[in-house]
Symmetry: C2
Subunit: 338 residues, 2 copies
């Protein structure tokens, strides 16, 4: 049962939502939103809970809203879908005020506007703990235009958008600043410029869903794709399992965020730990070798990020990450690192 | 970041899900579910939180799962949509075991099977408090076939499916049995048969979404429709506001559940309080007078429930509930009752 205060808050929320998207006939405020999708839809749901997926002492309400929508949209990017509609559930605890709630939604609405996503509906409820549940719907002309995890074939090139390690290093930085981890990192000692520090923090708190890159990869014939939320080793494992193939990754070929490498070196950590960090939300995809050049040009041109070949698809199962010198990094070990 | 235990639980959950529905090309387990909707879609999200929308001492896990999906599907019924896909987010607290989680999903899956709903995806997370967020997608040939709250016209008949008051009385019964309300109800003293008591409890804990009735009303030209979650007065108010009309309701014409009336009389309460109870999930609709007969026959024939004219749509605003003898019941008062 909805309380009157919630109706008023809903009214204030609706005022702030952008106009309806091209497929939306009826938006928030009725029993359901009405859309005319056309073609195929990709639908993904993500839940984020305070203390599990974010911390209110590390992220502003706007950053929490941004990241919740970004991680949901990243799943659409990994399908090669065009972002369509988002539906937002908020569980609001007593200590989370109306202004914070609106700031959270402003953060979400800014990313929605930047990605062409229509915030088409939602629900509010009281709860003991702040939580968000985001449903996103993406679009494609047909199911064949969407890229699942399961289509990788031996011989395909394994490619990665952008660079990784930044989100994990950013989390380390944030936690050290609040004393949450045992080994505080004195930033000034380590020759990290303030702009690098800020970039690492933002990489953790304000990830960018690679929607244009995902669409470009789909059009360039990607056979399988996944976004990196759990970490390179873990997510490569999901893709390998779904496709029934083995993935060989060349650790030296994986582009690592330079600021993250500097931070690792300065704090005396093996930079390979960065391979296990999660939440970079880059795309890992498999591309037939004869389309690798086309894919690379399209991802840079349309997606604005480099595409790097980091390995190969082989017969077999599981993931092998080859270190320089011939050693292997155990993907399972990443789960503990992350 | 998902823990290994969650992957295993997800695998056990997927085993139990029914085969994909007719529109679903790719179900749970990839980055997103892939469907080919065709025509128009109606999408609604609902969140349910332990202690706010249900109580674990009053409802079994299966009943919690049933009710969560039922209340979401009720929004599709209120649009006249055909149930399609559901996406389920579960927040699982430490004290809620794997078996309880599967029992909850079994309750949901049983209703999904009964209503032709495809459980096409979801997400699990740890949380301090049990919560559910359900997204449902319904279908129609075109947006015009879906019934919003906003189309009521003066002169339309106001109609109600089934009977109301049972869910509110059932909640009273359940709360009295656990000592949660001040005036315990001794059921045996009040000549309520055990089957009536059971029916009232189930009316509260296992509501039925009126999908077939909603579809029949849409096809019979309903101009506006809403499902009764907050209570007759409150929900009529939402419809009146969205349509810019006044709704006049004849209290004596409203079908009340007989067991609920008996319970009210036995406990010395004015039976009109039953008009304010929420969660009956019946449909309140506006129908042009020349199609009332057709609508009534269709709802009984296709939906299996009676359709009753309970009032009229007039020029003006707000809701008037006329009591026998000429008095008016104040709809706002219902919010406190419910």
């Amino acid at each position: 049962m909805v309380r009157m205060g919630e109706f008023e808050l809903l009214a204030r929320i609706r005022e702030r939502l952008p106009a309806s998207g091209p497929r939306t006939h009826l938006g928030s405020g009725d029993d359901a939103a009405v859309t005319v999708p056309g073609g195929a839809t990709a639908t993904s749901v993500d839940a984020l809970v305070d203390g599990v997926h974010f911390r209110r002492d590390l992220a502003s309400p706007a950053q929490i809203g941004h990241k919740a929508l970004a991680t949901a949209l990243s799943d659409l990017a990994a399908m090669g879908a065009v972002a369509g509609e988002a539906y937002v559930v908020l569980g609001l605890p007593p200590g989370f005020g109306e202004e914070e709630c609106l700031e959270l939604l402003d953060g979400m609405a800014a990313l929605a506007a930047a990605t062409g996503t229509d915030l088409a509906g939602g629900d509010l409820t009281r709860s003991d703990q702040l939580f968000l549940a985001i449903t996103v719907v993406g679009h494609a002309p047909s199911p064949d235009a969407l890229v699942a995890r399961s289509g990788a074939r031996p011989g395909d090139a394994l490619v990665l958008t952008g660079e990784i390690g930044g989100a994990g290093a950013g989390l380390d930085l944030l936690q050290s600043e609040t004393g949450s981890i045992d080994t505080p990192i004195g930033v000034s000692e380590h020759q990290l410029s303030p702009s690098w520090v800020d970039a690492l923090r933002r990489r953790q708190l304000e990830p960018t869903p690679r929607l244009a890159a995902g669409l470009a990869l789909s059009r360039a014939g990607a056979t399988a794709m996944i976004d990196l939320s759990d970490g390179l080793g873990a997510d490569a494992g999901h893709l390998a399992q779904a496709s029934g193939v083995k993935l060989e990754i060349d650790a030296e070929a994986v582009p690592l965020a330079a600021a993250a490498v500097t931070l690792s070196q300065a704090t005396g950590r093996d930079p390979w730990w960065l391979l296990g960090g999660g939440e970079d939300y880059e795309l890992l995809a498999c591309v037939p070798p004869d389309r690798l050049e086309e894919a690379t040009a399209a991802v840079l041109g349309k997606g604005g990020v480099p595409l790097t070949k980091v390995g190969e698809v082989r017969d077999g199962s599981g993931v092998e990450i080859r270190l320089p010198g011939g050693g292997l990094l155990e993907p399972r070990g990443f789960d503990q690192l992350a």
